[in-house]
Structures are given as structure tokens and as C-alpha cells.
């Protein structure tokens, strides 16, 4: 007889272990479903992140500064110029800007001509896309559109040198909007951080479901132990079991995630997938191996990490009282908060975020339980007492899914605030920089002063005319702590009129515009202020041309485009020795319209055509390309939230089910089923509402870290921090909806007879 159990154990240990799932197939299903869903989520998010990155890169390339070829004589370019340049071997691509009689501005391009832009074998990625008409379309189609206005540009790669050009042509810069590179990079950095958070959330969810099953199998483990099976062997089989299950579930999960991302990614990505055999757009460079391996690792660590940790802890006899744990968690939280505040560099901020999340996640369920107990202590009604006590039990029992939901809520909050802030900031900043309706370049060799004089004369009798002259160049900041005096960009305007005065400033002295206008002061961008530790009232020493100047700082303005420092000053004060690299006019023509103005300027400058840009449409173009990225980001966070909510729903339901006996006890004690259901509803709502309330400060803090800590450290500027209470309300409603769903499920459960628990142990819902 003695040999039989060990014989059995040696041959059918896996069978014995698995028999649990034969009896409880739903548990196995739940675990499998959770692995599939978690994998799907993370793969989807990963895909969407890379898609967001791709679309951002694409949009950047679409609007980034390029070179163009123009005629020496200032004439408009035509197809003949394109042909002449191509026939001598210059790589040029036509870029036809068309403003249709109705609708937004469109750009006609020729993908065939763009081929020479690419690397040797591949066309330029920015243009390696079907021309879907928004805003790019084929030259032929663009030419055929009835338009109010159209203008041909000939773009050329950066590698083209002036020497390559035939006579009569020269190179100038070409850009469709201010450079958005930095803003985009910042956004991507934040996306990466959020992607890691998603992975953490999925790990928590997985762990919660797995632990639930493990607890219920404790009896079978004990039995096996009595049969003489060593715990090590059981653990080895558990590792094997979870690996096998993970392998079976991760692969379809990755497939589903890709499918999901493709679906969310929308028509654009899909169209590309279909046209080329390789996925060009949706999840660039993302194979199957990486997500599968990452998710396998996550599953194993999430499910079995504690096995190892437990042994470790036993060995070190690290079993501490609960108060010590919560004290430790509070310490982590405080340390993280302090570190985030003081962190000198990015890695420290990320560590701080990790600490705060660990601390907050650890504390949150304790906090709910503590608050519930405190409420219970103050309640005089027995039902209220009972409810708060149950809440405390629930909060501790559902720790992992609750923390996951809390993190997900916090993340969604932060992402919403971040995305909205980015959108607003971007929009406002573009609006500020593109305040004037038109932007007219001063042709090479022409005199800007004449035009300025003419515009000044017009000012008096032209209602609505607003303009200023812009001269750009460089200056050197001197007298800084830095040994090497930094070069800064100069943005000189005159007159300092309404177009400039509408800029919003981060910080300003009294009468700052007047001071700027009179030349008795300068303004600097945020980057310069942060880097040189300058603030309003400080004196800025700089070398302009051959002159040394000391000017007080009158204001600091936000500038998200480039990392370089910039000074804004009145063009009237520029010394003659200042090297003007670029000159233009920003004009809102007012009543007479732009045509009259361009005619006059063409007359003054003796040219047949002007290089002129319609700022409204530039703005449209630039903002439209960001929209998709923002939409994808929102989709990704929403997905996380949905999964976290689903997990809490499932766990909540499982937990409530184990406790069903006690809820039915209330019926046996004379409460009607309706009353009991009402109590359960209040309980569930308290729980999910409570966690939403706890997620709020975490979410706001995360937003603050993203915009006020990570951005300045990475890029040298901050974003304005905004909060969106309406969205908090929406999230609160969502949490309550989860509570409602749990209560609804339980109400069904109440109608069925419950089996009396055999013992009052934690396994069967009897914990306190």
C-alpha cells in the first residue's frame, strides 16, 4: 500500500495537478482568457505605439524643413523648370500647393519623381504611401482641380549642392510649418513610459487571476505533500503548466492584438498592408517573436514570481507585521514623491515614478480597508457597519485587480490630460507663430525696408491691416557661466504690433511690449531661460553683429519647436553689422485683400511672383497630421482601462460568489432579496468608486510628472499643466458602471441556492 501513492504520484502528478482544472474548467478558462486578453492588450498597445511613432515620423517628414530650388529671376516655377533640372540630373520633386475653390488646401506630388529622394533602393518613406487625397494627391489630379490659387515648388534633397544646379537657379529652404520635431519626440517618450505601465497593469491582472486559482488548489497541494511529493516537484510542474498554458494562449493573443491594432489603426494602415506584402505602417518592424517572448516572460514572472519570492522570504524570515508593510509602502510613496520633485535627470524621474506607483499600489487597498473600518467604527446602524466591514474585506481580497484598475484609471487620466494638453499647446503655439494670415518672403536682393515703408504708409488708411517685418539671424550670449558663449537665434520684428502682442508669455515685466518696441529690452524663449537660468528682470549680455549689448529681459515666451535658444527683439535696434540670414513679412491684409498687397509688393521689389504662404492652411495641414496620433493614443489607454475593468468585474464576481452563502444568510435572517441586492449594489459601488477616487491623485500626479518633470529634463521646456474635471467625472461613471455590473451579476447569484461552506476558512469566503 505504501508504494501505491508514490507510484501514483510519480506517474500522474501532472494528472493529479490538472484534475483541479478538470473539476473547475471555468478557472482554467478564466486564466486562459486573461492571458489571451492581456497579451492582446499589450501587443495592441505596442503596435499602436509604434504606429503612433510611424505616423508622427511621417507627419514630421511631411512638414519638416526641406530644400527647394527657385529661379534666380524670382519667377514662378513651371513644369519646364522641373524638366530642365531633371535633364541635367538634379533630383527635384514637384510640390504643387492648390487651394480649391471649395475645401482645404491640397498638395500635389509625383511619387515617381520622389523616387530619387529615397535611399538607393527605397523611395522616401514620407512619400512611400498611397496618395489618398488628404492632403497629398497626384500631380495630375491636383493640376486638374479648379483652384483659387496654386503654386509649384520644386523640392530637392538635402544632399543637393548649389554647384549641382544649372545657371539661373538657386537653393533656398522650404518648410510647410514650424518644426514639430521636439514636440513629437516628447510625446513619444511619454508614450514609451505609458507602454511600460500597460505591461505592469497586465502583469497585475494576470497575477490576480492566477493566484485565485492557486489558493483554491492549496488543498490538493497539501494532499500531494502528504503523499510524499516534494514541493519542489509540484513547483516544477506548476512552472511547466503555466508555460504550456502561456504558450497556447500568448500566440493567439498576439494575433488578436495585431488584428485589434490594425482595426484601430484604421484604413490608412490597412490600405498599406494590402498594397504591399509587408506591414509598412501598422506596427512597423514588429514581428511575432518579440511580443510572444515578452508576454511569456510576463506570464511566468507574474504567476510564479511569488513562488520564488516566497521561498526567499521564508529563508530570510521576512514575515513582518502588516503595519510595517504599510509603513514601508508609505515610505516608498513619500520617497518617490520627493525624488520626482528633486530628480536631477530622467532615469531618476522614472525610478521615482516606479516608487510612487509601487507605494500607491501597495497602500491603496489598505487605505480603502482602513477608511472602511474607520467608517464602520462610526456607524450606528448594523447594516452600515456590516457594509463597511465587508468593504474592508473586499478591498484586501481584490487587491491586485483593484490596483490594476487604479493604475489604469490613473494612466487614462494622465494620457487624456497629456494628449489634450499637447493638442491645445500645439494648436495655440502654432496659432501664435502663425498669427498673421500670410507670410511673404523678401526675395533675394530685394529691399525689405522699402516694403516696410510702403506698409507703414498703408497702415493709416487700410482698416484691418496688421503686419510686421521679420529678420532672422544669430547672436552670441556672452557673460554667462558657460565658458563657451552659446549661439542663439535672433527673431527680430518691427513694428512690435498686435500680431506679436497677442503672444502669450510665461513670465513678463510691466510694460513689456512697450519696452520691446522701444528697443530697451528683449524677450527670450523658455529653453534659453531654463538653460542659462535667466528670468524676467535679469540683464542679457549679447553680441549682435559687431556690437556688444546689455538688455533687460522683459518676458519669457514658450517655444516648442526647437531645442535652441531664441531672442525676440525689435528689428529697429539691430545694428547694421547684423547679418540678416532671412527676411520676411507677416501680413494680415485687412479689407483690400491679399491680391492688392502682393501686386504692390511685386511692384516695389520688381519681381513677377512672390514666395508667399497662407498660414491658415499651413496650420490646418500641421494639425491634421497630429490628429491620428492623438486618436491612437486615446484608443490604447481606453483599451487598458476596459481590460482592467473587465478583470475587476471577473474577480469581483468570483469573490462575491465565494461569499454568496453569507449574502444569503441575510435572506435567512429576514431581509428580502431586493434589500440584499441593494446592499450588494452599495457595496460594489463603494468599492469601485473608492478606487476611482484614489486613482485621481495618482493620475494628476502622473500628468504633472509627464509635463513638468520629464519634459523639462528631456527637452528644456514645460507644457502648461491642465486638468479636465469633466473627464474625471466620465471615469468615475465608468468605475461605477463596473460596480453596477458586479452587483447585477451577484443579484442573479442570490436567486440560486448557495451551498453552505464546510469551514469558515479564507478559501470559502469566510475571511474577515
Amino acid at each position: 500500500m505504501k508504494g501505491l501513492p508514490s507510484l501514483l504520484a510519480s506517474f500522474s502528478l501532472p494528472g493529479a495537478l490538472f484534475s483541479h482544472y478538470r473539476r473547475h474548467p471555468l478557472q482554467l478558462l478564466a486564466l486562459a482568457v486573461m492571458i489571451v486578453l492581456a497579451t492582446m492588450l499589450w501587443t495592441g498597445v505596442n503596435h499602436l505605439t509604434s504606429q503612433a511613432r510611424a505616423s508622427l515620423n511621417q507627419s514630421e517628414q511631411a512638414v519638416a524643413e526641406r530644400q527647394q530650388v527657385v529661379r534666380d529671376d524670382g519667377q514662378m516655377l513651371a513644369v519646364d523648370d522641373f524638366v530642365a533640372l531633371r535633364l541635367v540630373g538634379v533630383c527635384v520633386m514637384p510640390w504643387l500647393e492648390v487651394t480649391p475653390e471649395t475645401g482645404n488646401r491640397l498638395v500635389g506630388i509625383d511619387p515617381l519623381a520622389a523616387y530619387c529622394f529615397g535611399s538607393r533602393n527605397r523611395p522616401s518613406p514620407a512619400l512611400d504611401q498611397p496618395l489618398n487625397g488628404k492632403p497629398f494627391l497626384d500631380m495630375g489630379v491636383a493640376t486638374a482641380i479648379k483652384s483659387r490659387d496654386s503654386r509649384l515648388y520644386l523640392l530637392t534633397p538635402d544632399t543637393t549642392q548649389t554647384a549641382d544646379l544649372p545657371g539661373g537657379y538657386q537653393l533656398t529652404s522650404f518648410s510647410t510649418s514650424p518644426d514639430t520635431g521636439e514636440l513629437g519626440d516628447s510625446f513619444l517618450l511619454n508614450l514609451e513610459a505609458l507602454g511600460i505601465l500597460v505591461l505592469l497593469i497586465t502583469a497585475l491582472l494576470l497575477r490576480s487571476v492566477y493566484l485565485l486559482g492557486l489558493v483554491q488548489r492549496r488543498d490538493s497541494f497539501a494532499l500531494l505533500h502528504r503523499f510524499g511529493v516534494s514541493p519542489d516537484r509540484v513547483q516544477r510542474w506548476l512552472v511547466f503548466e503555466i508555460l504550456a498554458l502561456a504558450l497556447m494562449c500568448v500566440v493567439p493573443g498576439v494575433g488578436l492584438g495585431r488584428w485589434l491594432a490594425a482595426g484601430l489603426g484604421g484604413g490608412f494602415g490597412q490600405a498599406l498592408d494590402g498594397l504591399f506584402d509587408i506591414p509598412l505602417y501598422a506596427g512597423q518592424g514588429q514581428g511575432w517573436a518579440m511580443p510572444v517572448l515578452v508576454m511569456l516572460a510576463v506570464v511566468v514572472i507574474a504567476c510564479l514570481g511569488d513562488l520564488l519570492l516566497l521561498r526567499f522570504r521564508e529563508r530570510l524570515s521576512l514575515i513582518l507585521p502588516k503595519t510595517v508593510y504599510s509603513g514601508l509602502a508609505a515610505l516608498l510613496l513619500v520617497a518617490g514623491l520627493a525624488m520626482a520633485w528633486l530628480a536631477p535627470s530622467l532615469p531618476w524621474v522614472f525610478i521615482a515614478v516606479a516608487l510612487v506607483f509601487a507605494g500607491a499600489g501597495w497602500l491603496a487597498p489598505y487605505a480603502v480597508a482602513r477608511i472602511a473600518r474607520w467608517c464602520a467604527g462610526r456607524s450606528t446602524k448594523p447594516l452600515a457597519l456590516w457594509r463597511y466591514r465587508e468593504l474592508a474585506v473586499l478591498a484586501r481580497r481584490l487587491t491586485l485587480p483593484l490596483v490594476a484598475l487604479q493604475f489604469a484609471l490613473a494612466m487614462v487620466l494622465a494620457v487624456q490630460a497629456l494628449v489634450t494638453t499637447f493638442e491645445d499647446t500645439f494648436d495655440r503655439w502654432l496659432g501664435q507663430r502663425l498669427e498673421a494670415a500670410y507670410y511673404i518672403e523678401v526675395p533675394a536682393g530685394a529691399d525689405g525696408r522699402q516694403a516696410a515703408e510702403w506698409l507703414t504708409r498703408q497702415q493709416t488708411n487700410t482698416p484691418g491691416l496688421q503686419w510686421h517685418r521679420v529678420m532672422r539671424g544669430q547672436a552670441q550670449v556672452t557673460g554667462t557661466d558657460n565658458a563657451n558663449n552659446p549661439q542663439v537665434d535672433v527673431f527680430a520684428v518691427a513694428p512690435v504690433g498686435a500680431l506679436i502682442r497677442s503672444w502669450s508669455l510665461l513670465e513678463a515685466a510691466d510694460q513689456h511690449w512697450e519696452a520691446l518696441d522701444s528697443g530697451s529690452g528683449v524677450m527670450i524663449n523658455e529653453q534659453l531661460a531654463r538653460r542659462q537660468n535667466l528670468s524676467v528682470g535679469n540683464n542679457l549680455k549679447l553680441r549682435l553683429g559687431n556690437q556688444q549689448r546689455v538688455m533687460p529681459i522683459q518676458g519669457i515666451y514658450p517655444d516648442y519647436g526647437r531645442p535652441v535658444g531664441e531672442i525676440l527683439l525689435s528689428a529697429e535696434t539691430l545694428p547694421d553689422s547684423f547679418n540678416v540670414r532671412f527676411e520676411s513679412f507677416s501680413v494680415t491684409p485687412g479689407k483690400p485683400g491679399i491680391a492688392q498687397m502682393t501686386d504692390a509688393l511685386q511692384g516695389i521689389w520688381q519681381v513677377e511672383a512672390l514666395s508667399m504662404r497662407d498660414n491658415g492652411t499651413i496650420r490646418e495641414l500641421a494639425t491634421s497630421v497630429f490628429d491620428q496620433t492623438f486618436a491612437l493614443t486615446r484608443a490604447m489607454t481606453l483599451l487598458t482601462l476596459i481590460l482592467a475593468a473587465a478583470a475587476l468585474l471577473m474577480m469581483g464576481w468570483v469573490f462575491f460568489s465565494t461569499r454568496a452563502w453569507y449574502f444569503r444568510l441575510l435572506v435567512a435572517w429576514g431581509m428580502s432579496q431586493r434589500q440584499v441586492a441593494g446592499q450588494l449594489l452599495r457595496l460594489a459601488l463603494l468599492l469601485t468608486g473608492g478606487i476611482a477616487v484614489l486613482a485621481l491623485p495618482l493620475g494628476i500626479w502622473l500628468t504633472w510628472v509627464l509635463v513638468h518633470r520629464i519634459n523639462p529634463l528631456a527637452f528644456g521646456w514645460t507644457l502648461p499643466m491642465a486638468v479636465y474635471p469633466a473627464f474625471w467625472f466620465e471615469l468615475g461613471m465608468l468605475s461605477l458602471a463596473v460596480g453596477l455590473s458586479i452587483a447585477a451579476l451577484m443579484r442573479r447569484q442570490l436567486g440560486r441556492p448557495a451551498v453552505a461552506p464546510v469551514s469558515a476558512s479564507a478559501l470559502t469566503g469566510g475571511e474577515r
Binding site: 457597519l385 466591514r389 428580502s672 474577515r768
Partner: protein
């Protein structure tokens, strides 16, 4: 015989299992006087628990009449909802139910449990601590159910039931999970208190010795009516 507390006439209950209808209780009739006790015996599955559930309205009979404290429950006589409310009210104030295990809310202390039950029944909570003391667990009042032994838990369950001053106690194997010695003690307390406070008692048990302590005996094993 004293004035009737409970009268059961022609009570039937069956369960549907697959295509088959399995009768559990068939045309059962009996009466129980005020302050009387009835032992309910029978093999496992003979319907003891089902009968107790029928007698407190947790389940509804297929046929028959139950008259409890003058309130008449007939099958199909009234709409279910009203009947359910009547049963709820009776359970809250008149019928104390004791199960084999898990009679206490795990998140409440023993005292809180007793108070909770008393308040639900509309009784004063002033005597809750006394009840625990009377059941020899007064010192454990602030403990939680999982901090005391099985026997102590069942004593607390009895304290709860008596604190609600019921007319009828339905006990379903109340000592089934206790050792002999503890079971005897708990049973003794139950009988003493029942006798002292004059409430009716229906005790489902498979223990012949326990059954012998009751004034009446109903063996469901034979499925016959008394």
C-alpha cells in the same frame, strides 16, 4: 396539546432532475404546539433541509398548506411576492434559523453579530452581551468568528437566535461539525434555553440520541406522515 404554533398539511416538494421529477417531500402533515420540540430524522437526502427551508419560506412548496402563528401559506393562494414578504417578515422576527456552520457574518465580531441579528428583528441590543455570557462566551464578545472554536461559533449562533426572541427555531444539524463532547454541551444549552423561553424547535439531525431529547419525532426516512 398546547395551542398550535405550526400546522403543516399535505406538504409536497419535488425537484426536477433532467426529465425526471424526484419527490422529496410528499403529502406531509404534522403540527407543532407552542414551546414544543420536534426532531426531524432521516438519511442524508431524505429532505430534512428542504423541509426546514419550506418551513421558513426560503423555498416554496409545490402543494400543501403551512399555518405558522396563525398566518396561512397556501400554494398558489397568493401572489408570490406578497408571500415572500410575509415570509421575510416572519424570518426577521419570529423564526430563528441555525445551520450546521457559518451562521455568523465573518467580518463582524461575535457581539456585533448578535447585535446585528437583534436589530434586524427589531429587538433591543442591550441584552446582546448577556446572551453571549449566558452561553459561556461572554469573554469572546470582541473576537471574530474565525478566532474562536467551532463549538464557540455555534454557541454564538444560538445567542444570536435567542437574542431575537423567536417563536420558532429551525436548527439544521447544528452540532453536525462538532465533536461529541462539544455537541452535547451545545445541544444541552439549546434544549435548556428553548424550554426556558418557550419557543418551538424543529431540529433536523441524524443523531438518534439527540432526537430522543425532543418531544416529537418525525422520520423522513419513511416518507410517511404522522
Amino acid at each position: 396539546m398546547a395551542e398550535s404554533l405550526l400546522a403543516v398539511r399535505g406538504l409536497s416538494k419535488h425537484f426536477v432532475s433532467g426529465n425526471e421529477t424526484v419527490p422529496v417531500i410528499e403529502k406531509l402533515s404534522f403540527t407543532l404546539g407552542q414551546g414544543q420540540s420536534l426532531a426531524l430524522t432521516g438519511r442524508s437526502g431524505s429532505g430534512k433541509s428542504t423541509l426546514l427551508n419550506l418551513l421558513c419560506g426560503l423555498e416554496l412548496a409545490d402543494a400543501g398548506t403551512i399555518v405558522l402563528q396563525g398566518q396561512v401559506f397556501e400554494t398558489g393562494a397568493k401572489i408570490a411576492r406578497q408571500k415572500a414578504m410575509k415570509w421575510s417578515s416572519l424570518r426577521r422576527q419570529q423564526i430563528g434559523v441555525v445551520f450546521q456552520e457559518a451562521n455568523l457574518m465573518p467580518a463582524l465580531t461575535l457581539l456585533e453579530n448578535v447585535q446585528f441579528r437583534a436589530q434586524l428583528a427589531g429587538r433591543s441590543t442591550a441584552s446582546s452581551q448577556d446572551w453571549l455570557t449566558r452561553l459561556d462566551i461572554g469573554a469572546l464578545a470582541q473576537r471574530y468568528p474565525d478566532q474562536v472554536s467551532g463549538g464557540q461559533r455555534q454557541r454564538a449562533a444560538l445567542a444570536m437566535v435567542f437574542a431575537m426572541e423567536p417563536a420558532l427555531i429551525l436548527a439544521d444539524e447544528p452540532t453536525g461539525s462538532l465533536d461529541r463532547h462539544t455537541a452535547d454541551e451545545v445541544t444541552q444549552v439549546l434544549f435548556d434555553l428553548q424550554a426556558r423561553y418557550g419557543c418551538g424547535l424543529i431540529l433536523a439531525t441524524h443523531d438518534a440520541e439527540l432526537a430522543a431529547g425532543c418531544q416529537q419525532h418525525l422520520d423522513l426516512g419513511h416518507l410517511s406522515s404522522l
